[in-house]
Symmetry: C2
Subunit: 140 residues, 2 copies
DNA sequence: AAAAACCATATAGTTACTATAAGGTCAATA
DNA sequence: TATTGACCTTATAGTAACTATATGGTTTTT
């Protein structure tokens, strides 16, 4: 009998460090191959499923969306094409991340300068922060 | 008659630069005071509603959550308390934003170095990016 | 009178899960 | 043997902050 070391969903979850529901969710989303079932209906996973899951998780840690991961997986199924598509997916993602950083930095500046408009020793009525939000001065 | 310049929802929306559904949504969430109704059931807004909405929108541009905005509004209703609560809400938010920036920068570094592992002139089979995600080298 | 533009409510969709409900299966214990 | 506990199953709802859609009433314009 080939395939002696099959796992149930709980074991796979522990192996990868993820919740069982998340595994079912990925299957439902078409990201993880549907496993065989035992006679009782329990899912029966192989090492391959563990690798697929790990791939997905690594992509998620890179903040790739499930749609992007889907795209990468579909590329994997057609290995004899140029990989420029993969690289441009990544380039786009990097540029997204950079845009996010830039706008968060601008936000940080706004918040810090807003914060500077009040100390803690006032009453809410005269709070500089609230006043600034309600009625901003020129320097925005 | 006091209150000669009342608006319908569409006019308010245009004034603030927002969609009508968003206005109804804020009302439903308890962020915007429910307006009077005309005889036909249409909402009838005053200048005050415009100001409330502008306040909410400014907060949202600072990326404050609706819950945080709710909190700020509740402070506004009790003006004779120390405003330290407002300031610490803001401090917490600033620290959140900084955390986000830091982790996005780390992410950017990872993505850039991942991207460096492949040029566009390969086939998917030998794509360095895919290989790295599937089976990362030490330098992570 | 009919069409266009506006208003109303209720409901579903978005993302990537997480949580809950209601129930079936299995191993070990009382 | 009965039952407890841990595990599994599916289906459904909740999260955040809207946005979009369906369905229908009202008002204004043509």
């Amino acid at each position: 009998m080939l395939g002696g070391r099959e796992m149930r969903i709980g074991q796979l979850a522990q192996l990868v460090g993820i919740e069982t529901q998340t595994i079912r969710f990925y299957e439902q989303q078409g990201l993880l191959s549907p496993p065989d079932r035992q006679e009782n209906g329990y899912r029966s996973y192989t090492k391959m499923h563990g690798e697929q899951l790990t791939f997905i998780r690594r992509c998620r840690k890179l903040d790739l969306s499930l749609v992007e991961i889907h795209e990468l997986l579909s590329y994997q199924k057609h290995p004899h094409q140029p990989c420029s598509a993969i690289n441009s997916l990544l380039d786009d993602h990097i540029s997204d991340v950079r845009t996010q950083i830039t706008s968060l930095q601008a936000l940080e500046n706004q918040l810090v300068s807003l914060r500077a408009s009040c100390s803690n020793e006032r009453e809410i009525e005269t709070c500089g922060v609230l006043a600034e939000i309600s009625d901003p001065k020129i320097h925005s």
